[in-house]
Symmetry: none
DNA sequence: CGCTTAATATAGCCAC
DNA sequence: GTGGCTATATTAAGCG
């Protein structure tokens, strides 16, 4: 095998390793996403609103000050629409 | 041409017509979506927050009573999280 | 009217114009979507499977997208090989 | 504690459990996404084009999806021809 | 840092 | 009417 061939083989192996690592991680993420769906489905089965649960979770993620800022802007725009 | 061939031809023509009508309509929808994007881009250029504009538009679409109901549920869930 | 009031009024008018343009465009999209539904309903009435029609249309769309993507990837590889 | 209070408490506990399970899973997903970023960064450091790597991975995923869809469409056609 | 593209979440629709 | 599925809308990430 020539040096060029060896270098190519090494590169090819590296690329394959990288691609497979990413694909493995993507699969793990997909599995977790599946579990999340199941939890929501179970919650729905117990009579809870998944839409509201999602909103609650989203709100908890969002910082309080950011929320306040957004609310203020939102009110301003809505006032504009009401011609105030 | 046999009767079978004729029937097949008619069916094929019908299918083609249906598919092309749908594709034409889908294209029109895509064109309008493109225009919407342009309007938002222009608004952004004038200094408006597209995120808030989207929220305002979404809210206007939603009926008032539905909004109230959602808010009530949301508060209930949040109270639950605070252990109240 | 003070300058401040005038500026605010102008802004409010601009926001209203933007929101109403978007809402108008959204309505047009909804109308087209309605027409699409009618075409599918008519096709179903003539005995065609809407599921298959949808898949065929999706396939045709995907083929067009694939072609564009194929070209993009090819160009990327070529650029990479040229060390760009 | 009244029965009503007990029922409410149980509900509150359930909601908290659901929300916390989701948040835990979301955190795990975020951690994996972080690892993916690190793998790409490392690959970039070794001189590989992350853009091409991403396209290759997307392509491999799409091929797998395509195969499944192809089969589904084929079965649909076969069922349609059998008048099912 | 903005701007374009990919990931995700939501909503609507269709079949059962 | 519900559940799965597709399509759209929103959000996040990566690149220059």
């Amino acid at each position: 095998m020539t040096d060029t061939e060896t270098a190519y083989r090494v590169t090819a192996d590296e690329i394959r390793t990288i691609v497979e690592r990413i694909e493995r991680l993507d699969q793990e993420k997909a599995d977790i996403a599946e579990t999340v769906k199941e939890v929501f489905a179970e919650a729905k089965g117990r009579g809870y609103s998944t839409a509201i649960l999602r909103k609650v979770i989203a709100r908890r993620k969002k910082e309080a000050d950011e929320l306040a800022e957004e609310t203020a802007l939102l009110e301003m725009y809505e006032n504009a629409l009401e011609g105030k």
